[in-house]
Symmetry: D2
Subunit: 337 residues, 4 copies
């Protein structure tokens, strides 16, 4: 942290997501982009042009040796997360690593152990737990307003972006699994999943996942790189109310005062249910950019201590859920009833 209290950050990896991180750190009063790093010269050139104050380098090692850098933000391919994050922690740097935090839970646990040993912040970039909409839904669940959570149904689909080294479950799954963990406060006990590799053989680009929780809640999650239009829509059906969260809408959270009341058995024959259809409310939601809040929380953890909301333990839970899903996955074509 420099003399004016700014955390001095280097961003490693300038692919799809990295430039967003650079932009937000640049805008954040609490931080300063002191260096950007990528193996590709053209990416350094392209991104660096807008931030003349940031050093450009292809050499990660020299970066880690630089004493004027407090923290490293890692936005490289998943398979490299462990190696880069571990090296940064070894070098005494705080680390924010994009989701998923590592390529397996063993790697993630090792990173946590290393960070603990060094007394450094290690934070996965689960941006959605900073989303005002996600937090509003969490409040509705936690306050009991929704009643018992019967089920969650979620679609996260778009067109692209295929990655040859990672399935749609590793790519889009962390968003869903981090949100569910954050909302429900529990991890799934069991799962089932069907995937298909439509475009590239062996690279699943469509997945239908079902999760079951000890509380009784069931969740159905559809992940796809092949859908015509971006869709991020999650329904949480509770015994009292239901809520629809749609990240791409102008009204991202809609609360339906609708439900089934008073199941009273009437003799052996028939239940008398009463269906309520009440008002629909779209609460006002803050439009603050979640990535801004995430990076501010990272800086706060470095400066003041305390676990960030997107904690390393959340990062581990997410990877364990992915691993659970992968263990039970049936690749379409190879199954019989």
């Amino acid at each position: 942290v420099d003399c004016v209290g700014q955390v001095r950050v280097a961003v490693v990896g300038l692919g799809y997501w990295g430039p967003n991180l650079v932009r937000v750190i640049h805008e954040l009063p609490e931080a300063e982009v002191v260096a950007i790093c990528d193996l590709r010269g053209e990416r350094l050139e392209h991104v660096g042009r807008l931030y003349p104050g940031a050093e450009r380098t292809r050499d990660l090692t020299s970066l880690l040796e630089d004493p004027k850098i407090d923290a490293i933000v890692v936005a490289t391919p998943v398979t490299t997360h462990f190696e880069i994050a571990a090296a940064a922690l070894e070098a005494g740097k705080h680390v924010l690593v994009e989701k998923p935090m590592a390529a397996c839970s063993e790697e993630a646990l090792a990173l946590v152990a290393l960070a603990d040993a060094k007394g450094l912040v290690l934070m996965p970039g689960h941006t959605f737990v900073y989303s005002p909409s996600v937090n509003l839904v969490r409040d509705l669940i936690r306050s009991g307003d929704l009643g018992e959570v019967y089920f969650v149904s979620s679609s996260r689909v778009n067109l692209g972006i295929h990655q040859p080294d990672v399935s749609v479950i590793w790519d889009l799954g962390p968003h869903e699994f981090s949100i569910l963990r954050y909302w429900l406060g529990e991890n799934p006990e069991s799962a089932s999943a069907v995937t298909r590799s439509c475009v590239i053989p062996g690279v699943p680009d469509v997945a239908f996942v079902t999760l079951e929780y000890a509380s009784g809640t069931v969740a159905n999650i559809e992940l796809a790189w092949l859908s015509p239009s971006k869709l991020r829509r999650t329904t949480v059906a509770g015994s009292r109310k239901m809520v629809v969260y749609d990240d791409t809408s102008n009204e991202p959270v809609r609360v339906f005062d609708a439900g089934v009341d008073l199941p009273e058995p009437r003799g052996f024959e028939q239940y008398r249910l009463s269906y309520r259809t009440g008002d629909i409310v779209s609460p006002a939601v803050s439009t603050v950019e979640p990535l801004m809040l995430e990076l501010a929380d990272f800086c706060r953890s470095i400066v003041s201590g305390g676990e960030p909301r997107s904690s390393a333990s959340l990062g581990i839970d997410v990877i364990r859920t992915i691993e659970l899903v992968e263990r039970v996955t049936v690749a379409a074509g190879g199954r019989s009833a």
Copy 2:
């Protein structure tokens, strides 16, 4: 068929759906409602008031003996379908029976054998195969416009109506399974399903179903009686185009000229995919009421012969799909990964 060529129909069962059948038969030039039948006097009174020309009776037997009745339309609870339809066929009446056609495939097969032996029309009421929108999507699939069908994702959810003797799979499933059979021209080879009985113990009101087909197509189907708002939305993702069918929208069919092109392996490392995002077209769709077309097809089969589009074999396929799904269903709470 009477002297002016009208099929003389009696409608049995005046619950939720029966009155719609009475109304449409009354409006149809090819048919005439000569009798309505229900065990409940107040339903006979309530519905009969609007159709003073129709005889009202609680006595099914006398109805089946009435020589001026050509056809029986059965809209009673599922468990009674077999008995009533079989009696009607035995009495020489053509039969339209609501979906699902019977409570198990053995019953359905027995009805078909009986109808064949008697030379009578036996038709399940799979209304959706008469929907102009469903047929438009079928044409897009069959013509090859969509390319290979990668996956289908469908939600059919609403608030209510719980029935104590039937699960959401038997209640809402026939709609989905008949549409999929009609579109894809094949039956699923395998399935998985998770259900939960949220309101009435032992009566599943939420089901997440995955179907796999020999062609490679996978389908994810969400059925629920507990959702805040009626939703009937099906996405069919093909290799060339994608289509979204939403029964409740003013633009029920939307075709997205979007997809992934030209997967060309480039060395070992990376595929070069090209994503298209083109025009979106909402084709003009006829607003004819599908139930009107269904009942006209029933009359046409009776008068001119030939199988109705909603054929008995479609009815059997739908029941077999339900039975496949039930065999693999996991009720949430009783499974470990």
Copy 3:
């Protein structure tokens, strides 16, 4: 009124709207369709087929002489309203006449005088004042929830139906003007309007109307027969809240807790305004058919006395508003700035 308390009604005019009136009267417990009347045999045939209990006639005179008829519902072209309604009143029949009630305010006043002299119900068919959504908005305005009504902006547009003898102002205007009268409780003091006759020379099919009220409220109304899709959307902007009423939506009333607060002049230079953007609420709205409520109100007035909500004085106010608008209308092409 017959021995079971049903009002015995004859419907005159079986064009576009008449069959809806016949259907609803047939369904209404309080009334009975005893006769239908039209000059065109094929319309009598077409509509009468569904209501075998109703007498069919082309002879209005004999209908008016029939003592078993209590009330006449008039759904003929506007230019004939006066003559038919007057004859019916003279013959001692209660009268419901479609909107606009007559072709000019003099005719409307003469009808009212005649009904008063005879002690009969005379009711214009302003269906929208029975709409649950329209009444919900009225309650919001009348209760002060919206604050001062700054402005109303309304679009009522569709494709068709051109009528050679009437402009879009006479055809679609009565809907808007009756709603505004019902909401605001006042008649416009002044107006301006521009029309264009796009398709048939001399028959305005597009009109932009502005109304000003003594209270300060201004209203902008767009009427067109030429729009691509049916649109009925009205915004009422108040000083406290705003409401959007969209008749074609699943959420027909939406209340926006948004507004401008506390205009405090700050020196000569600048006002300090505070903009609120709060929750959006879609209140639950009854789905009862307004036409059912309208006809029940007509029957109630006949049986129990008392003015119907769609009163003759409302009918006169609507015609006077049309006449005000017509006086100030500029036909595009014939004006200079």
Copy 4:
């Protein structure tokens, strides 16, 4: 223009819009932000922090004397446009001035004369003529696809932002009037308008404007600072097709193949019209930021010569339309029919 071909720009005025201009110029390869200027130190501080390479100054005069500045971008209040733009032109700088270009047409003409005399680029910032959606609609109109343009109906409403020195017509009007000028290729011949000053006395915040063109086209435009939600929706109804342009939608242009065909007079009595309701198409629209294209066009004009698309003559036409509208405006409260 510097040695690497970049236009060296200073941005004057860092209020609401200025920072956007600075950001885009910074990102644009063809330009460079060499200085930012505002009278308020805190704005210089706030904006300048993100662009450490840009000089910060409160002194416009020194800026205009600086030979390393090629162009001035003016984003100050409207009343200051003339003075600042004139001084910049006098100092030999190219000028981009925000819309409206000046506070009256005399000022705008004087600026044009000065730019011509000096051989400098003078460009108003009518961003919408660079919008891919606006250009797509223009192509539909110009190609004859829509047929004759019957009418245009437009709403541009939002909550805020009241400005004490300017009416909603001067604030939101330039967007509408520049688009209409660009689409229709003609200026209005006559107009009518009603305004109301709901919040601040004497500052109209709602305006209903009607424009008439020599071609017969009529336009209705609703401008308001008081609406619950941002709405930018324009319908262009042609004799062949209709198009809806909605700037805030994911499908900003929708083309309706709907219309009225073949008005054939049939005797004296009735026209036989045929209504078409065909497909609806949402063409793919480029998502390039219009402001980026606008500033690139400004640079291109400076380097290569040639009039920018947002030309000074467009700027003058827009101001003349505002002046026409103001001449005919009736302020609600002061008019009788």
